[in-house]
């Protein structure tokens, strides 16, 4: 049997609240706006009704869905067929740890009011649907340095008068 090219990566990563409000969306493959909205709707409908002690894995179309609830937020990732679900759970967990370290005891409000930071952290951890940096410390260091750079630049350019 001819083997098709198998790509292993995340297709998307979504964060949404228990009321179904989207807090973060990262798409690792080109997706139209309409398709994005549909996926988001479907994920929310699939994941929210799940009972507490059930399996964290679901089948949806040709994708495997891995989700985990942390406090009031659901972290939901779409995997391709040959991907490792257990590792995906670790990926979600690592992302939560990174957020926690950065914001100090992270909660949903942090991610709402500083959503751009959540994206920046994600971009230091994942790229193109693959894990970019496997060390927690390295990610934190990069974030600190980038933030410092931003502040320095802003100081240099003189802060807006607010």
């Amino acid at each position: 049997m001819k083997r098709q090219t198998v790509t292993h990566r995340l297709r998307f990563l979504l964060l949404f609240s228990r009321q179904g409000k989207l807090r973060l969306q990262k798409w690792f493959v080109p997706t139209s706006e309409r398709e994005k909205k549909k996926v988001i709707r479907d994920m929310i409908m699939l994941v929210l009704p799940r009972q507490p002690r059930t399996c964290n894995f679901l089948q949806w179309k040709d994708l495997k869905i891995v989700y985990k609830r942390y406090a009031s937020l659901y972290f939901c990732a779409g995997l391709e067929e040959h991907d490792n679900e257990l590792l995906a759970l670790e990926v979600l967990h690592r992302y939560v740890e990174l957020l926690d370290k950065y914001f100090g005891n992270v909660c949903e409000l942090d991610i709402i009011f500083n959503f751009e930071k959540a994206y920046f952290i994600l971009d230091e951890f994942l790229m193109g649907g693959e894990v970019l940096e496997t060390s927690k410390f390295a990610v934190n260091v990069s974030m600190e340095q980038a933030d410092t750079l931003q502040e320095t630049m802003e100081e240099y350019m003189s802060k807006p008068a607010y």
């Binding site: 670790e90 790229m127 693959e130 802003e154």
Partner: protein
Amino acid sequence: MSPSVPLQEMIRAIRSARTQCEERGVIQRECAAIRAQFRQTDNGGRSHNLAKLLYVHMLGYPAHFGQMECVRMIASPRYSEKRVGYLGAMMLLDEKQDASLLITNSIKNDLSHSNQYVQSLALCTLACMGSAEMCRDLAPEIDRLLRSSNSYIKKKAALCAVHIVRKVHELGELFVPSARSLLSEKNHGVLHGAVVLITELCERSPETLERFRKVSVPDLVQIMKGLVISGYSPDHDVAGVSDPFLQVRILRLLRILGRNNEAASDAMNDLLAQVATNTDSTKTVGNAVLYETVLSVLDIKSESGLRVLAVNILGRFLLNNDRNIRYIAMTSLQKIVSTDHNAVQRHRGTIVDCLKDQDASVKRRALELSLALVSASNIRSMMKELLIFLSSCPPELRAHAASGIFNAAERYAPSKRWHIDTILHVLTTAGGDVRDETVPNLIQLITNTSELHCYTVHKLYRALLTDISQQPLVQVACWCIGEYGDLLLKGECQETEAVQVTEDDVLDALEIVLQSHMSTPTTRGFALTATMKLSTRITDNVDRIRSVVSIYGSCIDVELQQRAVEYNALFKKYDHMRAAVLERMPVIQKNSLAGLLHVFESIQSFFMLLLASAPTVTVYEKNGVTLTLSCERQSESGLTVTLTASNSTDSDISSFTLQAAVPKVCNKHPVYPPELTAVKPPSNRISYDNVEFGDKCTTQCYSEEYSRSNSSRVLMTLMKYLGTR
């Protein structure tokens, strides 16, 4: 870190809106302000404005007017603006937008920026939304960065290269040399990126795969060994496992390199065994690595000892308390159940236990796997478990379980009685979820098992008395009672305890079905026909049947009414034929057409229609050609159909084609080709050029073509099956 005050104020304002309408109002005002700000030239708050727009976009509101602002921001010299600009590009632009091309130049410039964080922004964005053209344009630059001395840049360049290869396969060649050298890096991030890149290159090109197979397997084994036996490394440790992400990717690459290759598989054999034995399986992370190891072992040409070890790990997973692990184990076992059937069979007990799991996903997997594990040797015990499962399984799995059980029963039934019992059990438990062809299939099975007719009809009669809500079961029961009612009334049965049944009891049971609001029209049709058939199998209560039939002659349901009228006609005008018409059905061949169902029901019905009309019928009369059909019963099992064709025109008629079709259903009985005698009247001739005799099955047309007004067509189709009776 300076909080973005304007952004947070806006977010607060939006969140304090109490209704959707209010929220929309706030957002419209904000967007108007943002648009105005965009139009202004340089101001200090640009990044805040774009950030606001991106927030609004995440709530689901349109933000396309921000695309050009992203382009402008990316080109800005300020890092804070670049950062938000690139974020905006990743959120609002994709390769289909025209604006995305405009940032190609900025990306190119930023890739060579002196500050690594600016370079990183460009790399990240390219890897996220870079189109094929952009990739082609910038690939050489990425390759250059792969050779840089900066680890931070190298790891990002590696994943960017992965994206490029995915978009433009041919560019893979370009990255092969750099990818190779990256394997000797110490930095885990770079190493991870390198492994991902090599995996991508190998999957896309068999030649590249060959090259890497020759040179990289030992290196990878070495790196992996280092990870597994190394001591605690705070940088990369996750619950006692050293860099699980890297381990998993290396295992995956080894899998690709070892697939279909003995030498490579040998080289990694020891390592895989070591990982399989030494990895701590108490936490998810260890199990993630074990899982990947098992997948690799099963995919390469591993030696049998290692394979057994892998399957045993899956067996251990099945016993794990964590539901996720059990689920994973079953999906993996499902993949290998055909290739390593015996190994998986060893864990059958645990798998069957998982049928009782609380979790619906686990149940589903357990069902699939259980059905795949059914074999001739374990059919009885497996079926017991499956039937227990069927009685308590979630509704969405019932249809699948029922059809799986039927398939298994058909393939491995140890005896006919067991087969019939199993089907009956399913019909009692999950009658509403079985497929339509179950009824004719079961009827076919029953008629073929003549030694069990008595047993079957007793069982079905008892089932009918208990519950008439499951339609397929009721239909089969009615049919059986109609066919084998005499056996039921005899009151003795070898296989089971016989019920003492009077004719009234039986007719009562059928009448209950007829009158129940739970019965569908199809079911009622079955019941009516069964009642009619009993008129030749019982002796005392024929009058009762007569009255039932005449009552239904004015039933609102057209189908029932029609049948009742025909049966009435059979009583009145053709009483002498009644016995012959209603006698036992012949053994039939397996036929999966749904129309078979109609045949059972309609076969007698149509026969009677023919008899209700005149024995000789004009079938066709047009353009001077007249065709008549007449039937004559020669013997108990022989019937002659005569087609008379006459020509009353002035000229000859030629190319007259006669086609006689016989339903496959009846081809056990011989049908003799028609004898043709050309009648030569004083007037003109009809010459037969073409006679074809085939066995096309046209059962469907019985129900579809039938209409009283078109009797000539009907009779043509009738001719097709009458030849066998």
